[in-house]
């Protein structure tokens, strides 16, 4: 018996969400009194693999094949399903990021295993296996029972604390099959912006709305983001106006994020916007309208014009950072 944790790697490296997943999966293994096995696909060096032990993995499997150059949901599913079978996995844990969303549903059908997606807590119960997840875009939660022998869970990003352990994981490299003949899709081009903090990974997000009045006024937001090591985001009207790129749009139909701190500047907080940010640990709002709905979601607020408040805020942060 085991809990199998699929851990994605990015060019052979893990990130915080990888460790969240291993922490989470290891806790479930503890609840089931069984082994936590982390599996990652594509070459990762031993020092990096060993890090997964530090968050509770008993064993780490690195599935390798020189042919693995791209993500293919069907081949990845076959590899994970193969290990799930071999290791008699009772629970399979993946991230609820785009890779996890591509794999978990396929695994669910392949293994006829019930899927609880986007969970943010440990199962409330093992028998029956009961999980808790956000529904109606954060306006409610649901308790769901997974009825099958094998359970699949995808964990919402930044919803589970890292738990360090003193385990020295047993690390193994396993050569797996990689069938390229069946690949029906071909990646022709990758456009990537390097060095930018990813919105979904960021601990702090600074976001601007229509209250910023014009794209020319974004300077202090970028400066603040730079000072705090934050990612920048925006509301839908801002990306629709072309003031900021579409990949910054957070909200129900844009990116759904859960940073530790979400600073909403000149954003009124319509239901659709809050749907994308309501899982943030702290929301801070700056808005001229004291009745703006964003203030009912925020812990801290400033009623005032962004153009006047922001420069003072930048100064205060500079002082804090000793710059």
């Amino acid at each position: 018996m085991s809990v199998l944790i699929f851990v994605e790697n990015w060019d052979g490296k893990f990130k915080k969400l990888s460790f969240e997943l291993v922490s989470y999966g290891s806790k479930i293994a503890e609840m089931l009194a069984t082994e936590a096995i982390a599996i990652t696909i594509g070459n990762v060096d031993n020092a990096e693999l060993a890090k997964l032990g530090k968050y509770g993995a008993d064993r780490v499997i690195n599935a390798v094949n020189d042919g693995i150059q791209i993500f293919d949901s069907q081949n990845f599913t076959s590899i994970i399903a193969g290990f799930a079978d071999k290791e008699n996995a009772r629970v399979i844990v993946l991230s609820n990021n785009s890779t996890g969303k591509a794999l978990a549903p396929r695994l669910s059908v392949r293994l006829k295993a019930g899927l609880g997606s986007g969970v943010s807590k440990l199962p409330a119960n093992i028998e029956p296996f009961s999980v808790f997840k956000k529904v109606y875009s954060g306006n409610a939660f649901a308790n769901i029972v997974i009825k099958t022998d094998i359970k699949i869970l995808t964990l919402a990003q930044n919803s589970f604390e890292l738990i360090e352990s003193d385990k020295n994981a047993d690390i193994s490299q396993v050569l797996v099959e990689w069938d390229t003949s069946g690949l029906k899709t071909k990646v022709n081009e990758v456009q990537k912006q390097e060095g930018k903090i990813l919105l979904t990974d960021a601990d702090v997000v600074i976001s601007g709305g229509r209250g910023m009045k014009s794209s020319d006024n974004w300077g202090p937001i970028l400066e603040l983001a730079d000072l705090l090591g934050a990612a920048t985001a925006c509301s839908r009207p801002v990306s629709d106006e072309g003031w900021r790129p579409h990949d910054e749009h957070t909200g129900q139909t844009g990116k759904i994020i859960a940073p530790n701190l979400y600073l909403a500047i000149g954003i009124s907080g319509a239901t659709q916007h809050l749907a994308g940010v309501s899982s943030s640990k702290f929301i801070v709002a700056i808005n001229t309208d004291k009745d703006a709905p964003i203030f009912s979601a925020a812990q801290y607020g400033i009623i005032g014009d962004a153009g006047k408040v922001l420069p003072k805020l930048v100064e205060a942060v500079k002082e804090l950072k000793g710059k």
Binding site: W10, S73, P105, K133, I144
Partner: protein, 249 residues
């Protein structure tokens, strides 16, 4: 070639949801039902592709799993421009059940591209598209923000961490789409609404299949503590709160 767009019937996204029967069911009183926003964008893109005759698209079909109450939503999709529709006459039990029904419905024709929205705005599962692809044994591309047709292939833009990939894909294909696939949802014109009444809507009986999960109850989010206001003349106070009280910077 033929396109299938899977649509889900969901409460309007501004609905303040309430529950009845001991938090076991949503209170549908006063709810306005809509096509799931991502599905509506998928449909819009499918119709845009069909508008260009060089793409050679014969038809755009919509499919939904639901009881008769979802028909107004399906008719709306027909009014927007879908050619025909399939309704699988079943109460959706869980994502696996829905995907199995859609797979069965999709088998009746050779659909070259099947569109699914990344998630439905009610259960936020992000699961049906991937499950459907697996049931059918088709490749799938997720996080899709653009689909074009070039030289008898689909050319798909996929959003990845910090960028995008351009992928060419042979048919059949399941495209799981998100924001960007179409700029604005297409709106039904009066002529479309009139025509929708007579467009074919086929009702299929469900295949027998067990659900794998069961929704036990809903809960409302805990109310957040009241917002603490800081003097706009002195934002330093905010930094102090974030540092000393919230301990996050």
């Amino acid at each position: 070639m033929k396109i299938l767009v899977c649509i889900s019937h969901v409460p309007d996204t501004t609905t303040k949801v309430k529950f009845i029967d001991d938090f076991k069911k949503i209170d549908i009183a006063g709810i306005q039902w809509i096509i799931n926003p991502w599905d509506e964008l998928s449909l819009t893109r499918a119709l845009e592709l069909k508008d260009d005759p060089s793409n050679g698209i014969q038809s755009v079909t919509v499919a939904n799993v639901g009881l008769v109450g979802t028909e107004p939503t399906i008719r709306k999709a027909l009014a927007i421009g879908a050619d025909d529709a399939i309704r699988v006459n079943a109460d959706p039990k869980d994502a696996y059940y829905v995907a199995a029904q859609l797979a069965n419905a999709a088998k009746s024709e050779q659909y070259d591209i099947i569109f699914c929205g990344i998630e439905s705005s009610d259960y936020n599962g992000s699961t049906v598209g991937g499950m459907l692809a697996e049931f059918l044994g088709y490749p799938s591309i997720s996080s899709v923000s653009g689909v074009k047709i070039e030289n008898g292939q689909a050319v798909v833009t996929r959003e990845i961490d910090g960028g995008k990939e351009l992928i060419s894909a042979a048919y059949p294909l399941v495209a799981i789409v998100q924001k960007g696939i179409a700029k604005e949802p297409r709106i039904a014109a009066m002529r479309g609404i009139m025509m929708a009444r007579t467009k074919p809507l086929k009702v299929l009986e469900p295949v027998e299949i067990d659900s794998l999960t069961e929704l036990i109850s809903f809960e409302m989010p805990k109310p957040r503590a009241a917002c603490k206001f800081v003097d706009p003349e002195n934002p330093r106070q905010l930094i102090e709160l974030l540092q000393n009280e919230a301990k996050i910077i």
